[in-house]
Symmetry: C2
């Protein structure tokens, strides 16, 4: 559900050494969910948890709404915004060196990161668009924590327009959290993940909070006799503080869940409708997006969206153009400028897991900011989802994926040099 | 999930005398699902079954995908087909006489049938479009058995194009059903609901087959220790014959479930993708539709679709124009002509429940055919869903609704004279 530097394996998953490669795990070649009905050993289900296991997730991340209830994030009813094609066939052969010193082609990088969809925009034109396995142009893909950047952008708009005071204590808007860790946290601290929290997202630990959070929200099956929290809100109220707020970046999905809840309270409007009206409709998307929800109807703002690669490219291009897209100012320019400027790098440096792969980065309003010479920044979700915006190269890359390892950090040694190489190639013309 | 002449009340529902009217049951006025989270007594849930109870269903039929997993029926990515406006404000005051001899206005008819959405097309132009409660232009509404007409149309296309032999025994394509009632049935008998079946859809009977069917498919919560069939397919294989096939119309949702299954086997393609590629994309719809599915991924072809009123109008207009819409022949003209011509009225007359409200009608390829002087025919779903095509009046009416009584027969005494009155008014100009 998030991007974590800790051991990213889910319980009872094989070790990385045994992962089959992209072709060997191609869900079509493996026959997952083929036939009516599929054979029992090729059926992927919610109730046995197989939908989030590798290699099954190579199929299910392109079909997540078939496993859990979702709310529609409606597109506008008219014609979609333009995404003109200027396809090039030279990118696949482009070579670069990974952080591990390995020389790879862009095509190899895509396969090594288990991509399901890739779209590269240069100056607003599609220079590459390609799908693998169950990835398809018209099919929404699970975005996991890329969702957070939508929620963070909405909150940043509210802050910029004066509807939301970033210094306000969260508990003033959400009194339900008064006795939780969030009782002493500000809105800005939540937006930038600067919350001291007794809560773990270590996927290797079956006792970690992330599993309890998922069961509370109905995103994982609950055991018989389950007596834990029965909604995201109930779970959030149980969280206890550990350490100070405001001093260190600590990436935890629950923070975004709080922020989405806060936006619903602020606007008196469901999160799906806020995303639809403020972003999805003005962007001129081609398909409705989706967001999963808990059994009380609360959206999973921390990581529940699914959308098509093309529609994500529209969102990324709007950000690259500092909010102006489809003939209108979708998001105020000041909001994008604030995200581009990033958060405090000293806060980010406190988090241990990113030193090797994201040195000098920061986190702002639920976006990951590189502070590299191109001013690149990203939305990132587990299993390889990302929107990468490179203002200097006038480039946006959207990649969906179904990498066996959840954490983005595990594929960053290939992903980040590969994206930089594509940027350089596009700048050369 | 279907349209039945028997007692349509779900178990433990109040009697019709106590139904609040449209305004008194307006889900917005009642505060259903408002607030984050909504108050416990205003929360509608899947796991307690409240999502299908009245008045909660006035909210949930506009949000069905929030309660059960669904597959997307993808639209084409480009601009939607034209639905030009030619709005008139004189229809609401139009008066007609119901089958009970009551004089009502069209506006009263809409409210008395608990409409959520209404769209009237005349010569391809929108003369009326209006929503109530949770109904909204961009929001898909549960269609229930209107779904059947999509499945029936696809099967009729396959028959017309020679891919499907209507005389072929069903069990040749679906050997899993060899020992069921369908072992001795032909494809055509299934398409026209001429199957003798030991199976009841009496909503008042908690032991009726329709509930077992729904639990097997995961559309109703299963009790702890549930040991029944765990998919639609498993349930269908348990059905036993009662009486002859081919002699009498007997409306049962399971027949369409068999037909949808058969289409998946025939094409080696999921039903959602067949509907998308053969109908939804060529029609130039504006939104993805949805179809619910069982825990093995099998689509609920008997009644699982949700779609917007406008997109349904596109489907209806395509049928009115004998298959030609959006600049192409979406469905062969011969298929529409065969549906317009209807089934055997003597078969239909064998079914007792329709004699008062649908005298002289027939059923063909999952469409209800009036044989009236206008040649009108309908797709019908419980709680008031319908697409009404009146070729003589060059009119299509789409209505979505959340009537407290499931059966369409209960609202036909108002609905059918009202539709006829609108047709007459439009023909007068």
């Amino acid at each position: 559900m998030q991007d974590t530097p800790q051991n990213p394996s889910s319980p009872s998953q094989p070790t990385p050494a045994t992962w089959p490669d992209a072709h060997a795990s191609d869900p079509r070649a493996l026959g997952w969910m083929q036939g009516s009905p599929p054979p029992a050993d090729k059926t992927i289900r919610f109730d046995d948890g197989s939908f989030l296991r590798f290699p099954q997730l190579r199929w299910s991340l392109s079909h997540l709404r078939e496993f859990v209830p979702t709310t529609a994030i409606a597109r506008a009813p008219g014609a979609p915004s333009e995404l003109p094609l200027a396809l090039r066939d030279d990118l696949d052969a482009l070579h670069f060196t990974s952080m591990h010193g390995e020389t790879l082609s862009w095509r190899e990088a895509l396969l090594r990161t288990y991509y399901d969809g890739i779209l590269v925009l240069h100056r607003g034109r599609v220079v590459q668009e390609d799908y693998f396995g169950e990835g398809a142009a018209e099919r929404g893909h699970a975005l996991f924590s890329v969702t957070k950047s939508f929620v963070g952008t909405l909150a940043a708009v509210d802050v910029q327009q004066g509807r939301l005071d970033p210094q306000q204590p969260v508990a003033e808007l959400l009194p339900e959290l008064r006795h939780s860790a969030y009782g002493s946290a500000s809105v800005r601290q939540v937006m930038d993940m600067l919350i001291g929290l007794d809560y773990s997202e270590d996927y290797a630990d079956p006792q970690a909070g992330i599993w309890d959070f998922s069961r509370a929200g109905g995103l994982l099956p609950r055991p018989e006799g389950y007596a834990g929290p029965r909604s995201y809100g109930e779970f959030l109220a149980t969280l206890r503080q550990q350490g100070e707020h405001g001093t260190a970046f600590a990436y935890k999905t629950v923070n975004t869940q709080v922020l989405g809840w806060l936006l619903e309270r602020l606007h008196g409007q469901r999160l799906a409708d806020q995303i639809s009206q403020q972003l999805w409709q003005p962007l001129g998307t081609a398909h409705d997006a989706a967001i999963s929800q808990d059994p009380t109807g609360a959206a999973f703002g921390g990581g529940g969206m699914s959308a098509t690669v093309r529609d994500l490219a529209r969102f990324g291009e709007m950000m690259r153009l500092r909010g102006h897209f489809n003939g209108r100012q979708v998001v105020p320019e000041a909001v994008v400028a604030d995200i581009e400027a990033g958060g405090q790098r000293s806060h980010f440096a406190q988090a241990e897991g990113y030193r090797a792969t994201l040195p000098g980065w920061s986190y702002r309003s639920m976006w990951w900011v590189s502070h590299n010479t191109h001013g690149a920044y990203m939305a990132r979700g587990v299993h390889g989802q990302c929107i990468y915006i490179d203002p200097a190269a006038e480039m946006v890359i959207v990649r969906t994926g179904s990498h066996p390892v959840a954490s983005g950090v595990s594929n960053d040694p290939i992903t980040l040099p590969a994206f930089a190489a594509v940027a350089e190639a596009l700048m050369r013309g």
